[in-house]
Structures are given as structure tokens and as C-alpha cells.
Symmetry: C2
Subunit: 497 residues, 2 copies
């Protein structure tokens, strides 16, 4: 622990953003297809407890709420303004907000720096007004924000998340939406979600700093196209990662991607080499794609950090063992060399034709209890930091295995499968807790709907389950590198080689 | 087309292997948990039309069939012997087979070269006997073979595939099983499946040569750990790829993987640089993992080959567009520069705030018919070879989109979703056929069960659907490189730059 994050002078205004007692939706609409109607309905349906003031000069009432013709006409000073009006009207409305005394705004409207020189000028004007009036702004060109603590869902997509440990910062609204959807689908909760858009005023490093101090946020997931202030980002990230992990997907890492980023959020993607080095210096967990962002984020939640890079691979098929070993080496992990004690213990459990090494190939003829014993022997091994399990079939009752085809999906068969999976996965989770070493399952039955059940149950039990060894080793490698970074900050608990 | 594959002298014996009129299962068992019982039940339940002779000295009848005490006692000379007995007994049984006049064998038994020097010696003895007796052998240390043309399922896992275009060669039985399961789950058929194991006698290049001439096989999927005769493999592959694509996953590409391969199938993984060069020379489509093997194989089945590497990216979210552009560049593809005509046509369809370039970001406000028009304009563009579609939501009726959450999974909602998806995907497939350019969908709703439906429907309609742009570009890149290889063999139809 390196001490608490020092709060900037903006901190009290962030409270207005994420815990507002009242908000004005400027551009609220009676046309149900307009963003100003959709966002309003999400604020209402999400259960926001504060006052909601729709602002629209042509309506008296919208979705059952009294509408106000202007910001000036509002009966109180709302803590937050959410702005969904055409770009050319934004500066004037911000002047109104400033006069009213509003100190925090979310500018959903697009059509600023991302569309060229005129938009860039408009954006600069907007920022100039906001800073003069002492306002902080999210956006423009974004989907909005979520803060589950106060049930604030001022956001374009219908993402009614439960409260939970994930803080999300995304320069893309659609990517924010994809991340949130996946979390919601697994009943995993969100603390705050910020679709940060063009980041004209507030930058990702401001949100990072805020989330570091936010007690509801345990893990930060981030999609970034470019940095406005790389130096400050690095400095903030260095202070955050000893307290909370930052998992980051950086887009625009190719020339083609960087060009696309420029026209998307006006971001300058910058050198990928510089970014890679920044991640290493600051202990940011960089991921390659959206799956990995989700996989690493959720693994940080349910698994202990491995003490090193030495992986035991347990398989019931040699081919998968080879692919598992390749995946370890490719991800910078080591295929653990098993201790003599462990080899002796395995010889006592496994049939004589087992692989006599790591990957531990049980081949055929090892079932249920003996699989669990093997798992525990490997977790106990002093030269093993984590376990990758490549086939769950031997651990299941034999009648389940051979019934796993398309026609067995209905009612009873699904319940039998679910029960069997639940029991095995709960036992694996208990072994993780007992030995403080992560287990990741890399396996699929091959049938979409059955595999969907498998992954659901696995998440419920706290054992991540991915289709391929490469997914598992990417996660184990990320976790091991993050553990090593933190241990190096605090050499008393240094990881093993 | 480079002419038909010249058949080796082994060709007639391959007919005994894959179209036997009768077979002996040596080591058939009455104990339902033994491999000799499981394989027998699969041969029977698979509907094999020829005669089946279980051989077991201790039984009179097994699974309703008369059992014979020895090979010598069989009432006729079976075309094929499938051997599932302990390794030390295999040489003697092969002597019996030779004396009887059997010319083809599948040695399922493990415990040969993969377990060390003694096993290596036993394996050499086995091969010596087989060659002396003029027999060809599959295995040892394998799961068996499938030949759907004669309903032969002499295989360990219950893989009752329909007949179809995929020929599978796998040095790992478990990997063969994983590939087959995925195909079966999509109602995609298999011609032949060979779990080739240690390849003591027949090598992967022999199977390759056979499948090249097999009229039922259109696409060859292969998992390889190492080559026994790299030179001959290369020479055969060069003759096969102008006729049929070979998609290959080569394991053991790291030192750790190569060590695991040695103990799995006694394979020498060899230099990865040499293998990469061989793939390039021979037009083999090399893939990185099991998902890609499946994705490329199925895409070859349903999509036309792109004429070049220029990809149009259609998105309804800028972030996904940036990730799509990165994925293109990373996979060696080009983000297409759209023609002036195409830009003008897009300006007429899309709202003024569209991205005005590729990736084509429709942003918000483009729905159903206009999405389809946009797709067609992009496919018509002379500088576009393929289309990657990153969000299906705008193409769907609006009531579907916002109902897509967990609680909408039951009955009516699933049917509504299926109908909407079916209609849109069928229209996309019609556009692929009309313009002879591939479309790949890279997208997911984020909800396991809904996404499982999406992928099912997409496969049924012939439009591949993957979760991430990276998956789509890996496939498009593989297809483009294969098209280029074939065009270079036949310069009349050379692909564009």
C-alpha cells in the first residue's frame, strides 16, 4: 500500500457528477426515438432518487415529469446537467448553466472535434466557457454515465447494472456498452461507468484518480484510444495500481486504427512503444482485446494473484496438453517442473501410463475423486503457482459425459448437467481458497448452448472458464505480471522466480 | 487446377480402411467401461453396414454379436482390423492378422513410442511385421477413424457425424474429438476423420494424399504435432492445395510445447520457421488456435474467396470501428480506401454525421433498409474485396434491440429474435451470393444464451459470426492469402493488390 490518492481540487465536483441530488436533462424529448427521450427513460426507470428536471422549450410535460423551457427557469440549481442538444446550441446552454450555478455536466452531443476543424473550434469554445464558469464536463460525443450508488443511469443504452466492484472508463460509448453488457449478463456489478468521449475537459486520468478514491470501485476496466496528457496519465496510474488494478485495452495501436481513432473521438493514438513502456512502469495490465479485458477483470475479482509464473497443466488429452504448453510459453509463463514429492504423489493416484511430467496427462481411466485428488496434489506442489485445467469431463459423473449432445438440452438433462457442474466447480473453488492459488478452466463441450451453461455456472462458482488454453494463459500471465509489479513495490512479499 | 493427385501403391488398401465390407474388433469387451466395449457400441450404433466380428477369447457373445476367440477363428478375412488390446500383445496379433490376410489395421492401443525406449522398440516391431505382411496401419495411440460414407464410427468418443465436406486428420484424439464436436453441433458433416496418433506406419501426408482424391472431402482440417517425413509432406501438400484447402493447426511451436508433443505422440515438432516457410510454399492455411481452425474451415465452406486484402468495415459505434481497423492491420489486411462513387452513394443514404471514410461508422440514426443499402453499396465498391460488419443491431427491428436482455429469453422472445436474425442474415447471405464477396459478422449481444442463438442462426444462413473483429480478420486474412496463392498458380485470375 503506497498511501491514499491525493484528491485534486476537482474532487467535490466529482461528487456532483456521481452522486447528484438533482439533475437537469437539457434536450429531453417527447419523441421516443430521440436520445433525449431514451436517456430520460433510463434515468427514470433506473430508479434515480434525486429530482429530475427535463428541459425543453416546446413541452409542458415529458414522461410524466414537468418540463422546463430553459435552464434559467429551473426551480432550483441542479447538481448535474446532462446535455443532449445539437452541437451548435451547446455553448449557449453552457453559458446558461454557468449563470444558474451548475458545476457539473455530461455532454452527450456529438459533432465536435471528431468531425474536423469547425467542430474542434466549437469544442474549444465549450471548454473555455466551462472552465470560466468553474464547471467540469464529461464528453462531448459520449453515451453518458452510470453511478449505481445513487441509481443514476443517465446513459444511452439500457444498461441497468447492479452495484458492484467494476469501474469502467471508455472513450467509446459502444465499447463501454459491450463491457457493461457482459458484466450484467454474468450478474456482475458496476460501481461507475464513464463514457468519456472526446474528453474535451475531463480526461481519463481524472476519472482514474476519482475511481482510485471511490470506495465502491475495486477493479478499473478501461478502453482508451489516445491520451491528452500522457505524462499526467502515467503519474496518476502509478499511484492507482498499488491500490487497485487497472486493466486497459488501448486501441489505435496500428496506423489504420490510429486513423480511425482520430475520426472517432479526435484522439491522437500516439506511439504504441511508448504506451507499452508506460504500462510496464505503472503496473497497468494491458490486454489485447475485449475478451481479455473481461476475462482479466473478472479473474481479478474471483481468483487470488499467483505468486509466480509457474503453471501446472492438467489434461485428459495429450493434444490439449501440447496446446496448453504452447499457450503458456507464448504468454511468457513457465510450464512448472513438478517436485519429486509431487511426482511420487501423482504416481500413487494416476494410472501407470500417465505422462510422468507437466503437462499432467491423466490419459484415460481417471475419474471424479481421483481428478480432485490430482488437482489438490498439484496445488500443494511448491513449484506450482497456478493450475490450468483443460478438460472437465473426467471430473464429472460418467453418465453426464456421454449424454452431452444437442438432444440432451431439455429440462431434466440441463438440470442434471447443471448440478454436476455446480458440484465440481464448487469443489475447485474451495481448493482455490484453501491453497491460495488460482485455477482456470480452459475447455468447452463444443455445443453452444451447453457451453453457455458451463460458463454461467463456472462464473457463479468463481472458477473462470474459457474455451481455449490461450485465453487462460493470457489471464494467468496478466495476473502474474501484476502480482510481480506489486511485490516489487513491497519486496517483503516478493514473488518466486 | 493442377491435375489429379497421383495415387500411391497404398491406394487400394485405403479403400479397405475407409470402405471396409467387414471388420474385426480385436479386444472387444463385455465390460461397458472398457474402450473395447465403447468402440464396439459406436460401430454398432453408428449403423455400420458391413459385418462386425468382435474378437475376445473369454466371451461367446458381446453386445448381441457372436464373439470369436482369435483372428484365426474368424469365418472370413475381414477388410479391416481395429485393435484395442494391451501394447505387449499387439505384435503377436498383427502376426495373426498377417497370416489371416488382413491388409488394413487401426491400432487404438497406447503405450508405444510416446512412453520411451521400450515402447519405441515395440512400435518398431509392430511396423516391421505390418510392412512384411503388406498391411497399412493407423496409430498406434489414437482414438480410431470415422468414414461416414459407409457409416463407420470405429472411434472412442461418441461422434456420430452426418456425412459432409470436412476431412479431419489429427495427431491428437482429443483434438480430433473437439473439432468433430464443433462441426456436429453446427449440423456440419464429416467425410473422414483420422485420429492418426503416433503415425508409426501411415503418416499425415498419406492421409492428405488419400483425402485429396476422396470425392466426399472438400476441405481438410488438420492438427499436427510433428512430421516424420517433412520433405514428402511438403511435396504432397503442394499437390493438394490447388484442389482442396488444407487448414492446419501446428502444435509444439514453442520449446515447452515441443517437449509436451514428444511425450504425447512421440512427435518431433521441428523448427517453427521451417514449418512457416513450408506453409507459404505449399499454400497451407496455417491457423493459430482451435477456434481459428474451425472458423477458417467453416468460412471456406460458406463464403467465396475474397479477390484481395481490402476490407470495408461497417460499424454503428466508433470504438468498434477503431478495434476493427487495428484488427485488419494486425492480420495483414488493408482498410479499403472507398471510391468516390461509393462515398457519394453513402452520403445519399447515411446521416450527415457519418464518419465519411472507412471504417464506415453509421453512428446513430441508420436503421434496417438503410443498413442493407449501405452493405450493398460497400460490396459494389470496386476497391472493396470483403466486408466486416461490426454491429447487427441497426439492421434489426427496433423492438428487438431493446428487449435483448436476460429475461427476454423465454419462448416468444426467442422466436421473435430468431425470426428477425434469420431474415437479416438471409438477406446478407443473398448479397454475398450476388456480389461474390464475403461478409463476416463480428459481434455479440453480450448475453451467452442469446449469442449462442445468434451464432447458430448465422451458421445456418451461411454468414459466419464471431465475437470479435480479430476473429473475423484472422479468417479474412487466411482466405485472402489462400486466394492469392491459388491465383498465382493460375495468373489468369490474379487477385487485386
Amino acid at each position: 500500500m503506497v498511501g491514499l490518492i491525493a484528491m485534486s481540487e476537482k474532487a467535490p465536483k466529482f461528487e456532483l457528477l456521481f452522486n447528484p441530488g438533482s439533475l437537469a436533462l437539457i434536450g429531453a424529448s417527447a419523441n421516443p426515438y430521440k436520445w433525449g427521450a431514451i436517456i430520460l427513460s433510463h434515468i427514470i426507470n433506473g430508479g434515480f432518487k434525486g429530482k429530475i428536471y427535463p428541459v425543453n422549450p416546446r413541452e409542458k410535460e415529458i414522461q410524466g415529469l414537468t418540463a422546463y423551457p430553459s435552464v434559467a427557469a429551473l426551480p432550483e440549481v441542479p447538481d448535474l446537467a446532462v446535455v443532449v442538444i445539437p452541437p451548435s446550441s451547446v455553448p449557449a446552454v453552457l453559458e446558461d448553466c454557468g449563470r444558474k450555478g451548475i458545476k457539473a455536466g455530461v455532454i452527450v452531443t456529438a459533432g465536435f472535434a471528431e468531425v474536423g476543424a469547425d467542430g474542434e473550434k466549437l469544442e474549444q469554445e465549450m471548454v473555455r466557457i466551462a472552465r470560466r464558469e468553474g464547471m467540469i464536463l464529461v464528453g462531448p460525443n459520449c453515451f453518458g454515465i452510470i453511478s449505481t450508488a445513487c441509481k443514476l443511469f443517465s446513459i444511452m443504452p439500457p444498461l441497468f447494472s447492479l452495484p458492484g466492484p467494476f469501474g469502467i472508463i471508455s472513450q467509446s460509448g459502444n465499447v463501454a456498452s459491450s463491457i457493461a453488457s457482459k458484466l450484467i449478463s454474468k450478474d456482475l456489478g458496476i460501481s461507475k461507468l464513464i463514457s468519456s468521449g472526446n474528453e474535451a475537459d475531463l480526461h481519463c486520468e481524472d476519472y482514474l484518480e476519482y475511481l482510485a478514491g471511490d470506495k465502491d470501485t475495486k477493479i478499473i476496466l478501461s478502453y482508451i484510444e489516445g491520451f491528452r496528457d500522457g505524462r499526467r496519465f502515467l503519474e496518476v496510474a502509478k499511484r492507482v495500481t498499488p491500490i487497485k488494478p487497472i486493466v486497459m485495452l488501448k486501441a489505435g495501436y496500428t496506423a489504420a486504427g490510429a486513423r480511425a481513432a482520430k475520426s472517432h473521438t479526435a484522439a491522437l493514438a500516439g506511439s504504441d512503444v511508448v504506451f507499452a513502456s508506460a504500462c510496464k512502469q505503472a503496473g497497468i495490465i494491458r490486454v489485447r482485446d475485449m475478451d481479455e479485458l473481461f476475462n482479466v477483470g473478472t479473474a481479478l475479482l474471483c481468483l487470488p494473484l499467483p505468486r509466480g509464473k509457474r503453471v501446472a497443466i492438467l489434461t485428459a488429452g495429450g493434444g490439449w496438453g501440447v496446446l496448453g504448453a504452447d499457450a503458456c510459453a507464448s504468454a511468457g509463463l513457465n510450464v512448472a517442473r513438478l517436485s519429486e514429492e509431487t511426482m511420487a504423489e501423482l504416481n500413487a493416484i494416476l494410472p501407470s501410463w500417465w505422462s510422468h511430467g507437466n503437462p499432467v496427462d491423466m490419459v484415460a481411466g481417471v475419474f471424479q475423486e481421483d481428478v480432485m485428488k490430482t488437482v489438490e496434489v498439484l496445488l500443494r506442489c511448491t513449484t506450482v503457482d497456478s493450475l490450468m485445467l483443460l478438460n472437465l469431463v473426467p471430473a464429472l459423473p460418467q453418465n453426464i459425459v456421454f449424454g452431452a449432445n444437442k438432444s440432451s438440452l431439455s429440462g431434466e438433462a440441463v438440470r442434471t448437467l447443471d448440478d454436476a457442474l455446480s458440484e465440481v466447480l464448487a469443489r475447485l473453488a474451495a481448493l482455490v481458497n484453501k491453497h491460495h492459488k488460482p485455477i482456470i478452466l480452459a475447455w468447452e463441450f463444443g455445443f453452444e448452448l451447453i457451453d453457455a451453461r458451463l460458463r454461467e455456472v463456472a462464473y457463479q462458482k468463481g472458477i473462470p472458464c474459457y474455451p481455449l488454453p490461450d485465453h487462460a494463459t493470457a489471464v494467468l500471465s496478466s495476473l502474474a505480471r501484476y502480482a510481480e509489479y506489486r511485490a516489487n513495490l513491497n519486496p517483503a512479499s516478493s514473488p518466486q522466480a
